[in-house]
């Protein structure tokens, strides 16, 4: 009996023994923690070497790009902006990059330059460049990666401020339409408002703003916007030809109809 009691006591004691940490220390007092000077020195040497190589390469690219270029292209290279008609070297000079930044794919007489790494995209003064297409070693089309998606430039007008505003307005209108269809009327109104700043002469935007305000149960603002839309249009000059004119005529009819209803409600 005593033997069992002793065994039980021993087991209980064994279970109560404090937990021990048996790991050996990896660093103790009076040792040295070291510093990162070797890493910094190595990174410094590497950075210096890279900078010298890149500087030499960029210098050669700039010289070649400006050696024989049309005045408009030379201006664009100096400004740091891609332009239609540039050759491959001039694109590198305009974007202040070297061949390392691009992945070049040939397809017959045309060539497409896309960023080597999608995470770090080359840019010019206008924005981040998504792609450059060259036909017969001349830039025929290029695209910027922008908030609303890729904006393509394939004619001189697209590269102007007006061209850019028009492209931006188109993509914002598309976004606004999607948001209105989703029922997010505030977001749609925000997009249409931005479009109306970019293209103030577009009557269809006034109509869209009016329609969204109408749906959002803001009748007074909707009335003003419908009136603005109708006022802007010179009804007599509208020719009922083509799909665009038909769409505009339909919008006019709807606006007039809603205006009558809203004015009646207001009374």
């Amino acid at each position: 009996m005593n033997r069992y009691l002793m065994l039980g006591t021993l087991l209980v004691l064994a279970a109560c023994v404090p937990k021990k940490v048996e790991e050996q220390p990896i660093m103790e007092n009076n040792q040295r923690a070291g510093d990162a000077s070797a890493t910094i020195a190595s990174a410094s040497a590497q950075a210096e070497q890279n900078r010298a190589n890149a500087s030499a390469e960029r210098g050669a690219i700039q010289a070649e790009a400006l050696a024989d270029c049309a005045p408009a292209v030379c201006d664009a290279v100096v400004r740091g902006e891609i332009a239609l008609g540039m050759n491959e070297v001039q694109v590198l000079a305009a974007t202040r990059t070297t061949e390392d930044a691009w992945s070049v794919r040939h397809s017959g007489p045309s060539l497409v330059m896309v960023p080597e790494d999608e995470r770090v995209v080359p840019s010019d003064v206008v924005g981040n460049v998504a792609m450059v297409q060259l036909a017969d070693n001349r830039v025929s089309r290029y695209g910027y990666s922008e908030a609303q998606g890729i904006r393509l430039v394939d004619e001189p007008f697209d590269a102007t401020t007006e061209g850019r505003a028009q492209a931006l307005a188109e993509s914002l209108t598309r976004e606004g339409d999607e948001m209105a269809a989703r029922g997010d009327l505030d977001a749609a109104l925000d997009r249409y408002d931005r479009v109306s700043v970019l293209t103030p002469e577009d009557p269809m935007i006034d109509y869209k703003i009016a329609a969204v305000l109408d749906k959002a149960l803001r009748p007074y603002e909707a009335m003003i916007q419908y009136q603005l839309f109708l006022h802007r249009l010179n009804l007599e000059t509208i020719e009922a030809e083509g799909a665009a004119a038909a769409q505009l005529a339909e919008a006019i009819a709807l606006a007039q109809q809603r205006l009558v209803i809203l004015e009646r409600q207001a009374r």
């Binding site: 404090p18 937990k19 940490v21 790991e23 220390p25 660093m27 103790e28 007092n29 009076n30 040792q31 040295r32 923690a33 070291g34 510093d35 990162a36 890493t39 910094i40 020195a41 190595s42 990174a43 410094s44 590497q46 950075a47 210096e48 890279n50 900078r51 190589n53 890149a54 500087s55 390469e57 960029r58 974007t95 202040r96 990059t97 070297t98 390392d100 930044a101 960023p115 080597e116 790494d117 995470r119 770090v120 995209v121 080359p122 981040n128």
Partner: protein, 212 residues
């Protein structure tokens, strides 16, 4: 005569005690900053140094640098130091290792560092002042600031575990403290994290009774 003896003994003890107290054994010496000196077991200079060394090593040898450099004609990326939060239970000055990392970036030349928000306000005020008061050919130009490509952010967290055991009337205390420092570089345009560094420190602190 017999009574004066205890009085004399007490006076002697008092004098000895005063002398002992006045000659306290304080010893201050300069030692190498990279010497490991763990006293209480709390976060100290060695931990800060270890974290700095690890983050510098990880950051300066990671491919994010060459990726940026290749895409930008050999230019160095520009970094701004953002928030580094201490989420541990201790008061830890995180700027010691953050400054070490910032200094490593600057001294290596591999990364350009631009002034953070607090410094920037002071510099802008000085530049504005120059526009009114400095000679025209010595004025710092406006609109020439470098925009940062990446922001350095991070946090420090700690986990503690401890246990006290009584043996023969004495208390034995064991404590585990775990620190984790995370740093990341975030692309200011895309919010993509281009580099993430981490360092972990685990300490076992044992307080034995009577030095046993």
């Amino acid at each position: 005569m017999m009574k004066s003896r205890p009085l004399a003994s007490a006076a002697t003890i008092l004098v000895v005690a005063i002398l002992a107290a006045s000659c306290s054994n304080r010893n201050v010496s300069r030692i190498e900053p990279d010497t490991v000196t763990d006293l209480s077991g709390q976060w100290n200079d060695t931990d800060s140094r270890l974290v700095a060394n690890a983050l510098i090593e990880q950051s300066l040898t990671d491919p994010w640098l060459s990726r940026y450099s290749n895409a930008n004609g050999g230019d160095a990326p520009t970094v701004i130091v953002g928030d580094f939060r201490n989420r541990s239970s201790e008061h830890i000055p995180v700027s010691t290792f953050v400054n070490d990392l910032e200094n490593a970036y600057i001294n290596s030349g591999a990364v350009t560092v631009v002034a953070g928000d607090v410094d920037r306000d002071q510099i802008r005020a000085e530049r504005d002042d120059q526009q009114d008061n400095a000679r025209a050919d010595t004025r710092a130009q406006l609109g020439q600031e470098l925009g940062a490509n990446y922001v350095l952010q991070g946090e420090l967290q700690s986990i503690q575990d401890e246990e006290e055991t009584m043996r023969f009337g004495a208390t034995r205390k064991e404590q585990i403290v775990f620190y984790q420092v995370d740093a990341r570089l975030v692309d200011l345009e895309s919010n993509a994290v281009v580099w993430a560094g981490q360092h972990k420190i685990k300490k076992y602190i044992e307080r034995k009774p009577f030095g046993l």
